[in-house]
C-alpha cells in the first residue's frame, strides 16, 4: 500500500516537474512590449558656433535668440558659449549681462573676484570687464544673457 502511494507520489512529482519546466521554457526572457508612444521630436536647427575674438577654438559661441526691448532702447541677446578645458582664457566682455553655467565646471575670475562655479549658478558681468575662464572638465557651457543698449 505504502509502496503504491510512493510510486504515485513519484509519478505526480515527475509530472509536476515536467509541467513546471515546460512553463519555464515558454517564459520570455526578454519580452518585447509595444513601442513607447511619444510625440515626434521637433528638431531645432543646429547651432552655428564661431570663435570668440582671438581665442581660436578654445572659446566658441552661438547665438540662441535676440529679443528687442524697444521701451528700454535695448535688445537682449542670448548666446551659448563653449569653453574647452585646460588653459586659462581671458574673455573681454562686450556687453553687460548675466552668465549661467549650464554644463561642466568652471573657474571664473574677474579683476576683483575668483570663484568655482557649478551647473546652475549665475553671475553678473559688466561691459569692458575681462573675465578669466578655466574649465576643469572637458568642456564647460555658459548661457550668456546680454543687455545690448542703443537698439530701438
Amino acid at each position: 500500500m505504502i509502496r503504491t502511494s510512493l510510486y504515485r507520489a513519484c509519478f505526480i512529482l515527475v509530472g509536476a516537474t515536467v509541467i513546471f519546466d515546460l512553463g519555464c521554457a515558454k517564459k520570455e526572457l526578454e519580452p518585447t512590449p509595444p513601442e513607447v508612444t511619444r510625440p515626434a521630436p521637433m528638431m531645432r536647427p543646429a547651432l552655428h558656433f564661431k570663435a570668440v575674438s582671438d581665442l581660436g577654438q578654445d572659446v566658441q559661441e552661438a547665438s540662441l535668440n535676440t529679443q528687442l526691448l524697444p521701451q528700454l532702447h535695448s535688445r537682449l541677446e542670448l548666446r551659448t558659449i563653449v569653453v574647452q578645458a585646460g588653459k586659462q582664457l581671458t574673455l573681454p566682455m562686450q556687453y553687460e549681462g548675466v552668465l549661467e553655467l549650464r554644463a561642466g565646471s568652471l573657474a571664473i575670475g574677474t579683476e576683483s573676484t575668483r570663484a568655482i562655479h557649478r551647473r546652475g549658478e549665475m553671475w553678473q558681468v559688466y561691459k569692458g570687464e575681462r573675465v578669466t575662464l578655466q574649465a576643469s572638465g572637458e568642456l564647460a557651457v555658459i548661457r550668456a544673457i546680454y543687455l545690448v543698449p542703443g537698439e530701438k
Binding site: 505504502i2 526572457l29 511619444r38
Partner: protein, 557 residues
C-alpha cells in the same frame, strides 16, 4: 511493512540531504564588476549581514598597497581571495579570511620572473603605460577583474592592463591562474600604445567562452578616441575576428567605452558609450559621424557586435560631454527585462531589452539616427532627444545597484539644480531609490539626502545598501565613508522628505503634485581612508571596499 518504512525513511533522508547540500553550496563569491554579468551589484546569497547584524560592521583588516598605489577598480572575491589591480601596475590576490587574511596570496607581476618563462613572457616590470597616459584611469590597472572557469584548464582571473613588454604598454586582457597567479595567456593587443585608446575602467564580461571588453581614451578625451568593444577567446586570448563593434565609422573618433559591458538574459551584450568630438575640436570633428553610436546605451548581437537598438538621449549637436560613464544594469525585473544606466548629466534611462531587432522608434529618432525610446527616464522627460545646452559632465558616473524592482543610485533627482540659496553639492550628496516598474509619478521610493560627500559605488544584500562616498579622480588619503543603509522595506524611514528638492514635506509637497517619500536609516557609518569609486563587494559576511587612497578593506561583524 518494515521494508516500506525503510524506503520512506531513505527517501526523506535523501531529500533532507539534497536540501542541506543546496543551502551549503550557495555561491557567495563576487566574481566580477557588479557581482556578475547583469551588474546588479547584488549579493543574492548573503546569510550573515542584514539590517539587524550590520550595526556592528567594522574593519576586520586593512590591506595597504605596498609602496602606495590608488585602487579605482572594484574588488572581486572568489576562493577565499580578494582580487584587485592598482594604478601602480600590480595586481593583487589577498587572502579574504583565515589565519592569513589581509596578506598577499600572490601578486602579478611576481617578485621574480618565472623559470622557465611562461607563455606571457612575464617579467617583474609593473603593468604600466610608460608614457602618455595622463588619464585618471592610469597609468596602471583600473579594470576590475572577472573570474572565469575553464580557461585552458584553469579557473582564471581575467583583467585588462597595459603590457610593459610590448611597445611601452599595449593594452591587453590577461588570464592569471586564480590560485597561483601564473599567467595563462595574454590576449592579442586591444589598445596599442601607438593609438589613442586604452583599456581604462572597462572590465571584462564573461559569456559564450569569451571576454567582452571596451576601450576608451588614453587621456581624458584629449584626444577623443574611437570606442570599440572586443571579444577575446577565453581558451587562448585570441581576438574573435567575427565580433566587431565601433562606436563611429570615421572620419572623426568618438564613443569611448569607459564602462563595462553587461550580458542580457538571452546572452546579448549591452554597452554604454562616451561623447563625440563635435564640440571638442579636432580633425573632421565638425562632421556628424554615420553611424553615430556616441553617448548611447546599445544592445549588440553577441555573435558579431551588430547593433540591435540604440538609445541616444542627447542629440549629437548638443553633445557637451554627457557621456555614459556608468555601466549598464541589465536583466529581468517584474515588468520585463530592462537595461538601465545613468548619463553624466544626472539623467537615468531604462530601455526594454527586447527579443530580436534591430529596433527603432520614430518618436525618438532624428536625421541620420534611428533610435529607440527608453521605457522611462528619471527625471521624466516628455520628448527625446534633448536639444538644449544643459547636458554635460556633472559627475554622475556610478551605476547603482538593483534588488528586484528597486534601484539604488546616485542620480540627479527631480531638480538637477539645487534649490535657490543651496549649495550645488547637495545634488551629489544624496542617494535615490527608484522603482523601475512603476509610473513616473511613483518612481521615487525614498531619498537619502545630506550625505557627508558625493554618493559613489553602491551594492546591496538582504535589504541593506552599502554606499561608498567618493570624490572623482581623488587618489589622496582623504577620509571618506562606507554607509550601511536599511531599505525602507526592512526598517521604517526616519522621516519624510518632499520628492522635489527644496519644497517642505507635508501638505505643501503633495499639493504641489509631488510625493512625500521616506528617508532611510543609516545603520552604520564607517570612516575609511580614500575615495570609494569602486563597488563594495559583499561575500560571506564581509564587505570588501577599495579606495583611491590605496587601501583594500575587509569589513565584517
Amino acid at each position: 511493512m518494515t521494508n516500506d518504512m525503510s524506503q520512506v525513511r531513505a527517501t526523506v533522508l535523501v531529500l533532507a540531504l539534497i536540501c542541506f547540500t543546496c543551502v551549503g553550496c550557495r555561491d557567495t563569491s563576487w566574481r566580477a564588476y557588479g557581482h556578475d554579468t547583469t551588474q546588479f551589484s547584488r549579493q543574492p546569497n548573503e546569510s550573515v549581514l542584514n539590517a539587524s547584524t550590520v550595526s556592528t560592521l567594522h574593519v576586520i583588516w586593512d590591506f595597504s598597497v605596498p609602496g602606495g598605489g590608488a585602487l579605482t577598480a572594484s574588488p572581486a572575491v572568489y576562493d577565499n581571495t580578494v582580487y584587485i589591480g592598482s594604478l601602480n601596475g600590480h595586481f593583487y590576490a589577498v587572502y579574504a579570511s583565515g589565519a592569513k587574511q589581509g596578506q598577499i596570496r600572490w601578486q602579478y607581476p611576481p617578485a621574480a620572473p618565472p623559470d622557465p618563462p611562461d607563455p606571457c613572457g612575464t617579467t617583474t616590470a609593473p603593468l604600466l603605460i610608460a608614457a602618455g597616459s595622463g588619464n585618471p584611469s592610469g597609468p596602471g590597472i583600473a579594470s576590475s577583474a572577472a573570474i572565469a572557469n575553464s580557461v585552458a584548464g584553469h579557473t582564471a582571473v581575467i583583467v585588462g592592463a597595459p603590457d610593459p613588454n610590448s611597445n611601452g604598454g599595449d593594452g591587453r586582457l590577461w588570464a592569471l591562474d586564480e590560485a597561483t597567479g601564473q599567467c595563462i595567456w595574454k590576449s592579442a593587443v586591444i589598445a596599442p600604445t601607438s593609438g589613442t585608446s586604452k583599456i581604462g575602467y572597462s572590465s571584462p564580461a564573461i559569456a559564450h567562452g569569451r571576454a567582452y571588453v571596451g576601450v576608451s581614451a588614453k587621456r581624458p578625451d584629449a584626444p577623443i578616441t574611437l570606442g570599440r568593444v572586443f571579444a577575446v577567446d577565453l581558451s587562448n586570448g585570441a581576438l574573435d575576428p567575427a565580433f566587431n563593434f565601433s562606436a563611429v565609422s570615421g572620419p572623426a573618433p568618438g564613443g569611448g567605452v569607459w564602462s563595462s559591458p553587461a550580458i542580457t538574459p538571452s546572452g546579448n551584450i549591452v554597452v554604454t558609450t562616451g561623447n563625440s568630438c563635435i564640440h571638442e575640436g579636432g580633425t573632421n570633428c565638425n562632421v556628424i559621424p554615420s553611424p553615430d553610436y556616441t553617448n548611447s546605451i546599445l544592445k549588440l548581437d553577441w555573435h558579431n557586435g551588430s547593433v540591435l537598438w540604440q538609445v541616444q538621449p542627447v542629440a549629437i549637436e548638443h553633445d557637451f560631454d554627457p557621456d555614459f560613464a556608468a555601466s549598464p544594469i541589465v536583466g529581468q525585473v517584474s515588468c520585463g527585462s530592462l537595461a538601465i544606466s545613468i548619463q553624466k548629466d544626472g539623467y537615468v534611462h531604462a530601455a526594454d531589452i527586447k527579443t530580436g531587432g534591430p529596433f527603432s522608434n520614430p518618436a525618438c529618432s532624428y536625421a541620420g539616427h534611428s533610435l529607440e525610446c527608453p521605457r522611462w527616464s528619471f527625471p521624466p522627460v516628455s520628448s527625446l532627444p534633448f536639444q538644449d545646452d544643459g547636458h554635460g559632465d556633472s559627475d554622475f558616473k556610478r551605476q547603482g545597484a538593483l534588488d528586484g524592482d528597486h534601484l539604488f543610485i546616485a542620480a540627479g533627482g527631480l531638480d538637477l539644480e539645487p534649490p535657490p540659496g543651496h549649495n550645488e553639492q547637495e545634488v551629489f550628496n544624496r542617494l535615490h531609490s527608484l522603482n523601475v516598474c512603476t509610473s513616473d509619478a511613483d518612481r521615487i521610493r525614498w531619498i537619502l539626502p545630506n550625505l557627508p560627500q558625493s554618493a559613489g559605488g553602491v551594492s546591496v544584500a538582504n535589504g541593506v545598501i552599502y554606499l561608498g562616498t567618493w570624490s572623482p579622480f581623488d587618489t589622496s588619503a582623504s577620509p571618506h565613508h562606507l554607509l550601511a543603509i536599511a531599505d525602507t522595506d526592512v526598517l521604517p524611514p526616519t522621516s519624510f522628505i518632499c520628492s522635489y528638492p527644496g519644497i517642505p514635506s507635508g501638505f505643501m509637497c503633495s499639493s504641489a503634485g509631488f510625493k512625500n517619500v521616506g528617508v532611510p536609516v543609516i545603520v552604520k557609518d564607517v570612516t575609511l581612508t580614500g575615495s570609494i569609486q569602486g563597488i563594495p563587494a559583499i561575500s560571506g559576511g564581509r564587505v570588501y571596499v577599495s579606495t583611491g587612497g590605496g587601501h583594500l578593506y575587509s569589513l565584517g561583524q
